[in-house]
Chain length 139, copies 2
DNA sequence: GAGTATATATGTTTATGTCATATAGATGCC
DNA sequence: GGCATCTATATGACATAAACATATATACTC
């Protein structure tokens, strides 16, 4: 999703855990980012990626492929509606708009992200405390 | 993993997204929680679950099945070592201990969780701002 | 015409959580 | 003894979701 620390991980293994290279282990971000972008303004996928980049000052760069899939799912669920956009030149654009249900979903995401923040806060505290106890640099 | 808000989600759909029921979309927590527990004290799986519950005042209750799998993976990677514990009665216990590599992994998890906190903070801000702009309760 | 930016879409692999189930030893109770 | 229950480890099945790769097509520039 974005620059998670990729640092040299446990050698001698194929897996990349926290400092992973791929996989969804980091937690859902594309869907809430898409909802946030659409709360800000209607738009089409390719541009929403830039919107998200701008809104986060370059800190969140979603995978466009994942973004398109996410938008399709959201449409299936009724959280967004789409239409082919006629204006402009170049490849056609599918423009998305939030529905009332999409607003509710955004609220639910907000709750869920706050829960995740809380859990991460707990774990960060535990790891930090544990590492300090073990005589490790407390970062 | 723990009580993510399960509230009534977008009706008319099978999928449960943020307010999901199952699936790993919430982000990695079992492995860092296990490392945190082992930083605190050596232990065996079934008991580590309780340790984690205690350390988080009941807020993080990891799935034991997932915990065992996580410990196995950590051992494959060299982050922990294990031995069958002879003491005590009842079913045998496999006791785990952190290695030097495991300490390093815990540090990497700490970094990764802080990055995730930062990203969640950004998204929470965007969703909150967007919902307020849309005239929604700003929670 | 070749290369590049825009735009949408899909395939594949990996990481992870969640729920269900299997197996076994130990203990208590009727 | 038989049965439920707690402890303890382990695995199967399914769902969610990111990351990377690739395919297709339009338009603009050199």
């Amino acid at each position: 999703m974005v620059s998670m620390p990729r640092g040299d991980c446990a050698e001698g293994s194929q897996r990349q855990p926290c400092c992973r290279r791929r996989g969804g282990g980091g937690g859902a971000l594309v869907e809430p980012a898409a909802l946030a972008a659409l709360l800000y303004a209607d738009g089409y996928g390719y541009d929403m990626r830039r919107t998200i980049l701008d809104m986060t000052e370059g800190e969140v760069d979603v995978d466009v492929g994942g973004l398109y899939r996410s938008l399709r799912r959201l449409e299936d669920e009724g959280a967004v509606t789409s239409r082919w956009c006629e204006e402009g030149t170049g490849p056609r654009r599918r423009e998305y708009e939030l529905t009332e249900q999409g607003m509710e979903l955004a609220e639910q995401w907000l709750d869920a992200l706050r829960v995740r923040q809380r859990l991460d806060e707990l774990l960060v505290g535990l790891l930090d405390g544990g590492l300090a106890k073990a005589g490790r640099k407390d970062t």
